[in-house]
């Protein structure tokens, strides 16, 4: 009897303890989730407020303030927004394609061959990795001078060229990882069947890592879309990307917060949506394959 009672109190105590830690866990996580959503929520409700309401702390549409789509309609009719969106898309799509293609060549080379003559594989990998350390400002100035001499300042290629170089190391390291995880037997038997190396690469190896390629392509697209310093230095009117364009509006629209917030939301929407699409690959994409998701 007393034995039973003792066991009962013990299970009671552990279940109470579990209940308390569970509750604490949920509360802490809920607080953090709210804090992380706050800036986006606040920006969104500011974008549907009347201008006078943007200086108030009202945060419940319909209950506390009458929402309006005036800011959105005004901004969606402005040609400048579309020009910047188009520039960002052209630059993002092209530099992601170039970086993924060139990067996957190096990735395949490093995954499938041993380099010994001049540099070892490990040295080449470290070299690509060390490019990640380079501060962009150290490159921005000489690159600006180079583009100035070539006469291509304020054109898409100027930004595409540097974005490709800057984000290629991600593609190298991630695709190398993906190629390494492919069973080598497939390629060996294809070689025996008389397949050449480049056929092997284009027809067999690349299609086999298509999911990883798509993921790193999308991640580099988002990086390029969000990149500010190079785009800011290299463009001024014709080829301005979305971040460059909205950085400029801070001085031109001042405290027209409805305008600011519509533009902020338009800017973050495309990369955030595609970020959610590649959930499974985000971690290896962001750590260049060091940590698997």
């Amino acid at each position: 009897m007393s034995e039973n009672k003792k066991r009962a109190t013990r299970t009671n105590r552990t279940s109470v303890k579990k209940l308390v830690t569970d509750a604490a866990t949920y509360i802490i996580i809920a607080i953090f989730a709210a804090l992380f959503l706050f800036p986006i929520y606040w920006t969104f409700i500011t974008s549907i407020k009347m201008q006078a309401d943007t200086f108030t702390s009202k945060f419940l549409p319909f209950f506390q303030f009458e929402p309006t789509l005036r800011g959105w309609i005004g901004q969606l009719q402005a040609a400048e927004n579309f020009k910047a969106l188009l520039n960002s898309t052209i630059i993002g799509v092209s530099s992601a394609a170039l970086a993924t293609f060139l990067g996957s060549m190096a990735g395949y080379g490093l995954a499938r061959f041993n380099f010994r003559r001049f540099f070892k594989n490990a040295d080449i990998i470290s070299w690509f990795l060390s490019l990640r350390i380079m501060p962009p400002i150290a490159l921005a100035l000489p690159f600006y001078a180079l583009m100035l001499n070539l006469g291509v300042i304020d054109t898409h290629p100027a930004v595409i060229l540097i974005h490709t170089a800057f984000f290629m190391p991600y593609a190298v390291l991630v695709t190398r990882d993906a190629f390494k995880s492919l069973p080598i037997e497939i390629e060996e038997s294809a070689l025996i069947d008389g397949c050449s190396r480049h056929q092997l690469f284009f027809r067999i190896a690349l299609p086999l890592i298509a999911p990883a390629l798509a993921a790193i392509y999308i991640i580099i697209f988002a990086f390029s879309w969000n990149e500010f310093l190079f785009a800011y230095v290299l463009t001024n009117k014709v080829a301005v990307t979305m971040p460059v364009y909205i950085a400029g509006t801070v001085t031109t629209v001042g405290v027209l917060f409805d305008v600011l917030s519509v533009r902020a939301i338009i800017t973050i929407l495309p990369p955030v949506i595609i970020g959610l699409l590649v959930q499974r690959y985000i971690i290896s994409g962001l750590t260049m394959g060091a940590v698997k998701g």
């Binding site: 500010f228 902020a264 971690i283």
Partner: protein
């Protein structure tokens, strides 16, 4: 298969591309850094090491080095700590884990400039945003962007918002790939959760934590968008003027190309010294041979 010459063909295009676009401009910048080159000037003279000495007589340069290192010192430990805390909480058997993961993925893809714009609204000092909420709660308003110390805090908060999710997601992935049998065995042997964490989880997590540390230090050393846009070029005054902001102003506002190039190389040297030790430790997770 190992001695094919074709292997060089796979490496040549990407390596040549990077050499042409990164190392060639850097090489020409070395030459520029020894001249008094300015935008629009027809000729530039060789000035020896002058551009490399000037920054060391300039309080503004010291200030920007200090500001940069201060941000690294404040931001990186906070993000690592918060990320670890959140990851440990989420590693428990709780409901809604997928949803929280999605919420915490969003900031990773928000453009820093868009966040700086959102910051204009949220940190607006005359009402609305945080100050409006503080007022509703009967608390005093804070001078988020106009008071020196508070401005530093604003930058730290913004960076924590943008990058704690990175630390969290990667540490969580690290936690979930730990060998479960080790933890189970220790639990059977009667280890407390504190002991489990101290003696099993933490040591096994070191590689993951190093990876996070590496990326966060690299990116914090180049902090630019938030001080530059949200705080109007590293303001108030120069209290949030990081090295990148400082060099940007010298190069693209003052157009002292030679001076800015020299400062970039001093900066590059600083970053290389700080990172090479860490890179050496992190390298083995990439090489994997």
């Amino acid at each position: 298969m190992r001695h094919e010459r074709i292997k060089y063909l796979f490496l040549l295009p990407p390596v040549a591309y990077v050499l042409a676009l990164v190392l060639f401009p850097l090489g020409s910048a070395i030459a520029t850094s020894f001249t008094d080159a300015r935008f629009g000037a027809i000729e530039s003279r060789f000035v020896g090491l002058r551009n490399y000495i000037t920054p060391f007589n300039d309080y503004r340069f010291y200030n920007s080095v200090y500001v940069t290192l201060l941000f690294v010192g404040l931001i990186v430990p906070l993000e690592l700590g918060l990320g670890l805390l959140l990851a440990l909480l989420m590693n428990r058997d709780i409901r809604g884990r997928g949803l929280i993961r999605i919420i915490l993925t969003v900031p990773l893809f928000v453009s820093p400039i868009a966040f700086a714009l959102m910051g204009q609204v949220i940190f607006y000092e005359g009402g609305g945003g945080i100050n409006g909420i503080l007022k509703d709660l009967g608390l005093p308003a804070l001078r988020w962007r106009s008071h020196p110390q508070t401005a530093i805090f604003t930058v730290v908060l913004a960076d924590i918002w943008m990058w704690t999710p990175f630390a969290f997601l990667i540490i969580l992935a690290g936690l979930q790939s730990l060998p479960k049998y080790l933890l189970e065995a220790a639990k059977v042997d009667g280890a407390s959760s504190a002991q489990l964490f101290r003696h099993i989880t933490l040591p096994l997590l070191i590689p993951t934590l190093l990876t996070v540390l590496f990326f966060r230090i690299v990116d914090t050393l180049r902090l630019f968008e938030i001080p530059f846009t949200l705080l109007g070029g590293g303001g108030p005054g120069i209290t949030t003027e990081t090295l990148t902001v400082n060099i940007y102003k010298v190069g693209f506002r003052g157009f002292f190309f030679g001076q800015a190039a020299a400062m970039s190389f001093i900066y590059l040297g600083l970053v290389t010294v700080i990172m090479s030790l860490l890179l050496y430790r992190v390298r083995k997770y990439y090489v994997g041979e």
